[in-house]
């Protein structure tokens, strides 16, 4: 299993795309922090990258990589290796590679310029999001045999989670504004990993406003240590569930 993981990582690193991804993230975060002396504003700009670009790249890259290694997987399956070992090494390799490039590209500059709880939260949520979308990408790859449909599905999922979901929540919020919808809305938001990541960063950056009336429910739901643990658990579930599902499908799949 370690051998396969190692192979996957070196294979990905040989692929120039991940290098370019790292460099782009690097250029982006360094330029944000060096042009802007206001680090909190910089964090906000980076947050948009983390919430939009990082999941997109993770899901598309992961997905295409899975399709491209179809022959490699077939080769491995013919060897005396457990299928679950193959699948988990693929997952490990992909998420390690993408997380490394995220950490180098965004993590290091953030740690340098914003060495606080806010910075750590940003990095941590970015890495969780990367892993979640790798996991979803693998599920998409196993669900669709056809490459075009698989990539299409991944793009749809990305679009749904990062844009449409918030739009829907906003719509419901205004539709049912006259009802006590605080709890359902908070639960609804908690189902989306991107929203969860954003809320955790929000709790660090906009502390002052959240101490007021508007943030009361908010803080009670997400700001307590219980809230933090619950959001972390949900994010972990977003990694584990798609992965386990895809593993089951892979184990049964007739290649």
């Amino acid at each position: 299993m370690r051998g396969i993981t190692k192979f996957v990582i070196t294979d990905i690193l040989k692929n120039r795309i991940i290098l370019i991804y790292t460099i782009i993230l690097c250029v982006f975060s360094w330029s944000i922090f060096s042009l802007e002396d206001n680090t909190s504003k910089g964090i906000m700009s980076l947050l948009n990258v983390i919430l939009l670009t990082v999941p997109l790249v993770s899901i598309i890259f992961g997905n295409i990589y899975m399709y491209n290694s179809a022959e490699f997987i077939e080769l491995l399956v013919s060897q005396p290796v457990k299928r679950s070992a193959i699948w988990s090494s693929l997952f490990l390799g992909l998420s390690l590679a993408l997380n490394t490039s995220f950490f180098i590209g965004i993590g290091l500059p953030v740690l340098l310029f914003v060495p606080s709880m806010t910075g750590v939260t940003v990095i941590f949520s970015g890495m969780l999001i990367t892993t979640i979308f790798v996991s979803i990408a693998m599920l998409c790859a196993i669900l669709m045999r056809d490459k075009a449909r698989g990539i299409g599905l991944s793009i749809m999922i990305w679009l749904f989670l990062s844009l449409i979901y918030d739009g829907l929540v906003l719509f419901f919020m205004f539709q049912y504004a006259d009802y006590p919808i605080e709890k359902p809305m908070a639960i609804l938001a908690a189902f989306n990993p991107i929203d969860l990541a954003r809320i955790q960063v929000l709790l660090q950056v906009d502390v002052a406003v959240l101490m007021g009336f508007t943030g009361a429910i908010f803080k009670k739901m997400f700001g307590t240590s219980v809230g933090l643990i619950v959001s972390l658990m949900i994010m972990l579930l977003w990694i584990v569930l798609p992965y386990l599902l895809s593993l089951r499908l892979f184990n049964k799949k007739d290649l």
């Binding site: 990062s162 918030d166 954003r198 101490m211 009336f213 908010f218």
Partner: protein, 416 residues
């Protein structure tokens, strides 16, 4: 002869003036001095005497100073009210009270006992004292020309009802409150019907309610004070002609907490203050003709909450940096002007390089208006959808009032 008479008369006058002074004595109170008790020294003291009190613990109930004397504590003698009495009551004009530790006053909400309470007197000096664990710290009632300087007040109140104010002034005039340090009281400094007074270089922090609270107190100045982590910040109400220069208002976070809450204030000037990390830095309600300029708003939830019943206020040359929302309001009426402020959220350009942005800035955030009515919408703040909404609204205001704008925002922050 007439010249000579005049000369004698002058001499006589001088002698008459000096005699009472020459008769003034110094009295010493201490464990091995002529007086063992402050009370007995006060009994035999006369106007213009000086009483030196040496270090010891004095538990003598209520000490009443009703003569024009100077009381000086040496090595911080402790006067203890035993949690029953008002500790020191000053009931004469021209008293100086310096260098004591006054502690453990009684608690009563009927007559408001204080550590040091001044009744209807003028020209009082209270300085360099330490006040520990009193109900009210220093209480001035009908005082005139009093100086309260360099005192340290500390109380350990837990609830609003169970503790009095640090420096409480009522129906007074021409007070100077300088360099005091107040902690743990209900209101740090409380003014009601106090006029022509100055509050300068005080530190008021960790008070349960307000750091500074004044009502019906016209023509006062608040300069270089620090208000930190008070339960609800600073509240100023029903007052005209106050100036607030170079104060720092910080860490007032909480539901109904404000850096400054202005209610029914007119003709005031708020200049050069720093508002840092408050839930609402400056809240204006029924405030008219106020000049707000050269202030720094940094890291607040809301910088300015201007209610629609405010009129003719001018907000100019301020720095707005790192605030979640710069301005919010509750209506569509705009009767205040914004000009030449620095907004870190401004994204305009300056083609003619005159340092002023060429397109106006709309400081009112759409989402702050939405959140006012719909607090749970905060859940989606800073999401892509909401950012999109905000951008569109800033370019083409439809829900927020169009005239609510800074016509010429500056490009670079002021050095404040």
């Amino acid at each position: 002869m007439p010249v000579n008479t005049q000369k004698y008369f002058m001499w006589l006058l001088m002698v008459l003036f000096i005699i009472p002074l020459a008769h003034s004595r110094t009295l010493h109170v201490g464990p091995n001095k002529e007086f063992k008790q402050i009370r007995s020294a006060l009994l035999s003291a006369q106007d213009y005497d000086t009483v030196f009190v040496y270090h010891s613990q004095y538990k003598e109930g209520n000490i009443v100073i009703n003569k024009k004397i100077v009381m000086i504590g040496i090595d911080l003698p402790v006067i203890d009210g035993d949690k029953k009495y008002e500790v020191v009551s000053i009931k004469s004009d021209s008293v100086t009270f310096r260098g004591f530790q006054v502690q453990n006053s009684g608690f009563a909400s009927l007559n408001d006992p204080g550590g040091i309470k001044v009744y209807d007197a003028s020209n009082i000096i209270i300085e360099d004292n330490v006040l520990e664990n009193n109900f009210f710290g220093i209480y001035i009632q009908y005082g005139k020309h009093c100086l309260i300087r360099n005192n340290r007040l500390k109380a350990y109140g837990l609830e609003e009802q169970q503790i009095g104010n640090g420096i409480h002034c009522w129906k007074s005039d021409s007070l100077q409150i300088i360099g005091n340090h107040i902690e743990g009281h209900r209101d740090g400094i409380y003014f009601e019907f106090v006029t022509h007074s100055i509050v300068w270089r005080n530190i008021s922090k960790l008070n349960i309610r307000y750091g500074l609270h004044f009502m019906f107190s016209n023509n006062d100045a608040y300069i270089n004070n620090m208000f930190d982590e008070n339960g609800a910040g600073v509240a100023v109400m029903f007052t005209k002609h106050v100036v607030m220069y170079s104060n720092t208002f910080q860490n007032s976070t909480g539901d109904a907490s404000y850096g400054i809450l202005l209610k029914e204030i007119s003709d005031a000037e708020i200049r050069g203050n720093r508002f840092i990390n408050n839930t609402s830095a400056l809240f204006l309600e029924g405030a008219n003709r106020i000049l707000i300029h050269k202030n720094v708003f940094h890291g607040n939830g809301y910088s300015l909450k201007i209610q629609a019943n405010c009129m003719d206020n001018e907000v100019y040359q301020n720095n707005f940096i790192n605030n979640t929302f710069d301005v919010s309001t509750n209506g569509s009426l705009v009767l205040n002007t914004f000009n030449h402020n620095y907004w870190d959220k401004y994204e305009g350009y300056d083609l003619d390089k005159d340092g002023l942005g060429d397109i106006p800035f709309h400081p009112l955030s759409l989402y702050s208006v939405i959140i006012e009515n719909n607090p749970i919408a905060m859940l989606l703040f800073r999401s892509f959808m909401v950012t999109l909404l905000e951008r569109t609204e800033k370019l083409i205001p439809s829900i927020t009032p169009e005239e609510f704008k800074d016509n010429a925002p500056v490009i670079k922050p002021y050095l404040l």
